[in-house]
C-alpha cells in the first residue's frame, strides 16, 4: 500500500506543504490575504469552526462556487473539507479538482461508524486524529496526511498539544517493543499490523504529521512545530482576530523560524487582539468536535 504509485504522488504533495501554514478561508478575498501573507495552501470552507460552533446547525461541504472562486484567486494549493464518511461530497471536491480533501470532524459527520475509502480517489486526503491508533486507521484507509484534531474553533492549544504528544509517545513506545509484541500492540491500538511494523522499523508515521485545532498565535505555531508537527493548519485563529493579514504573516514567520524565540517574539508584537477562545472545560461534552 505504501509503495503504491498513486499513494506516493499523494504523499508527495503533503511533503511539499511541510514547514508551512495552511489557512482556513471562506471566500476569494480571504484566500488572497492568506496567499499574500505566505500561506503554503488554503482550506476552503463555508464557515470557520468558531462560527460553526457559535451558530450550530449542520455544517457541510462549502458551496462549489466559493471553491471555484478561491481556486481562481490564488496559485497555491486549495484544500476543501467534506463530512466524515460523505464520499459523495468527496467525489464532488475531486471533480472540482481541489488539491487536497480534508475529511473533517469540524463538519457534521455523515456516517457515525465509517470513514471514506480514500484509496478509491485520485485526490489526496488529510484526516484528523487524537492518538496513534486513530492516525493509523486513517492511513490504513488511504489518508496521505495526518493532522491533530485539537479542538477546532476553540482558540485553545491544549487539545492539539495533547494529541501531538499522544501520537509521538505511542510511536516512541512501539520502537522499544520486540517484534513478538507488535501484533498485540496493533490489537490494542486498533491499527493495521503492517503500519505498526512500519513504525517499529522507521520510528515515524509513513505520512507527514501536521498540527491543527486551536492555533491562534505565532507562539502556538512554534510550540506545535517544536513538539514535532511538520506544518500547521490555522482555522479560526486568523480571520477571527482583529488584524488578519498581520497575524497571518506573523504565524507564517513563526512557523519557518520556530526554533528562534527572539524572532517569534519580534513578530508577536502589536498584532492586535487574538480570537477570544474557549476554555475546553466550558464546552459541553456533546459539543466537542474532536470526539467525532
Amino acid at each position: 500500500m505504501l509503495e503504491d504509485k498513486d499513494f506516493k504522488v499523494k504523499v508527495g504533495l503533503a511533503e511539499m506543504l511541510k514547514g508551512g501554514v495552511i489557512m482556513d478561508v471562506t471566500n476569494a478575498e480571504q484566500a488572497k490575504i492568506a496567499e499574500e501573507a505566505g500561506a503554503c495552501a488554503v482550506m476552503a470552507l463555508e464557515r470557520v469552526p468558531a462560527d460553526i460552533r457559535a451558530e450550530g446547525g449542520v455544517a457541510r461541504m462549502a458551496d462549489p462556487k466559493i471553491i471555484e472562486d478561491i481556486k481562481e484567486a490564488v496559485s497555491i494549493p486549495v484544500m476543501a473539507k467534506c463530512r466524515i464518511g460523505h464520499f459523495a461530497e468527496a467525489q464532488v471536491l475531486e471533480a472540482l479538482e481541489v488539491d487536497f480533501v480534508d475529511e473533517s470532524e469540524v463538519l457534521t459527520p455523515a456516517d457515525e461508524s465509517n470513514h471514506i475509502d480514500k484509496f478509491k480517489f485520485k485526490v489526496p486526503f488529510v484526516c484528523g486524529c487524537r492518538n496513534l491508533g486513530e492516525a493509523l486507521r486513517r492511513i490504513g484507509e488511504g489518508a496521505a496526511l495526518i493532522r491533530t484534531k485539537g479542538e477546532a474553533g476553540s482558540g485553545n492549544i491544549i487539545e492539539a498539544v495533547r494529541h501531538m504528544r499522544a501520537v509521538n509517545d505511542a510511536i516512541r513506545r512501539i520502537t522499544t517493543l520486540d517484534d513478538e509484541q507488535l501484533m498485540s500492540e496493533a490489537k490494542h491500538l486498533g491499527a493495521p499490523y503492517e503500519l505498526v511494523k512500519y513504525i517499529k522499523l522507521n520510528g515515524r508515521l509513513p505520512v507527514p504529521n501536521f498540527a491543527a485545532g486551536g492555533i491562534a498565535t505565532p507562539a502556538d505555531a512554534s510550540l506545535m512545530m517544536q513538539l514535532g508537527a511538520e506544518s500547521v493548519f490555522v482555522g479560526s485563529g486568523i480571520f477571527k482576530s482583529s488584524n488578519p493579514s498581520v497575524r497571518a504573516k506573523a504565524i507564517v514567520l513563526a512557523t519557518t523560524h520556530y526554533k528562534d524565540p527572539k524572532l517569534v517574539g519580534e513578530v508577536s508584537k502589536s498584532l492586535g487582539e487574538a480570537m477570544k477562545g474557549l476554555d475546553i472545560s466550558q464546552i459541553p461534552e456533546e459539543q466537542l468536535l474532536q470526539t467525532r
Binding site: 506516493k8 506543504l17 505566505g38 494549493p77 489526496p124
Partner: protein
C-alpha cells in the same frame, strides 16, 4: 560513517523556509555531507553548495523578505540544485503567473504546467547521468518552455525536457529527493 570526500566535506545549505527540505537533508546526511538548514540570510554565508527544494514559491518570496536575503540567494556562486519549486526560482523567466526568477539558468519555466494535484503523476524518464530509466515524481510540476544557448538538457520524459544544467547550476522539474535513487545528489556532491 566513513568520509567519502577526498579533502574537506562540503557544507550543503538546504533552503528550509518551507517545502520538502527534510527529504533532501536525510539523503545528503546519508551520503556523508555536512548539512545546514538555511532559514536566514546569514545561514548562507559559509555554505559551499545550495539546494532549493520543492514547496510553494510564493511562500518563499514572502518569507525571504529581509534586506539583501533574496539577492544573496540569487547570486550564490557555488553549485546549486533546484527541484520543482527550486527550478522555478532559478529560472530567468517564470510564467503562470508571469514573474522574474533568479536567472541562475537562462530558461523560461511555467508553474503548475500539468494542472492541479489530480494530474500529478510518477513515470520513468531518461537521464544523462545513467542508462537506467529514472523514476520521476511530478507534483503540481512546472514545465521548462525555453532553454538558452548555454543550457544543456540532462533529463527527459518522452520528448519533454525535465532537467537542465548550466555551469554549476542544475534545475529539475521533478523530485529526485522522493525517489530511492540518489544519483543526482551524488553527482551534485561530486561523488560520481
Amino acid at each position: 560513517m566513513e568520509n567519502r570526500f577526498s579533502k574537506s566535506a562540503p557544507l550543503v545549505g538546504v533552503l528550509a523556509i518551507q517545502g520538502d527540505y527534510s527529504a533532501h537533508i536525510s539523503i545528503l546526511r546519508g551520503l556523508g555531507a555536512k548539512v545546514r538548514e538555511v532559514r536566514k540570510s546569514e545561514d548562507i554565508d559559509d555554505i559551499t553548495h545550495l539546494i532549493i527544494p520543492g514547496g510553494e514559491s510564493t511562500t518563499i518570496r514572502k518569507v525571504a523578505y529581509e534586506d539583501g536575503y533574496w539577492d544573496k540567494l540569487a547570486q550564490f556562486p557555488g553549485p546549486v540544485m533546484g527541484t520543482c519549486m527550486g527550478s522555478i526560482l532559478m529560472a530567468t523567466d517564470i510564467e503562470n503567473p508571469k514573474s522574474i526568477g533568479w536567472g541562475m539558468l537562462d530558461i523560461t519555466i511555467k508553474r503548475n504546467a500539468y494542472g492541479r494535484q489530480v494530474h500529478s503523476f510518477t513515470d520513468y524518464g531518461k537521464i544523462a547521468l545513467s542508462d537506467e530509466p529514472f523514476e520521476m515524481i511530478f507534483i503540481r510540476a512546472p514545465k521548462i518552455t525555453r532553454i538558452g544557448e548555454d543550457v544543456k538538457p540532462i533529463a527527459w520524459l518522452g520528448n519533454e525536457i525535465t532537467g537542465v544544467i548550466s555551469g554549476n547550476k542544475i534545475a529539475l522539474t521533478f523530485h529526485p529527493e522522493l525517489s530511492a535513487d540518489y544519483i543526482f545528489h551524488k553527482h551534485f556532491l561530486g561523488l560520481e
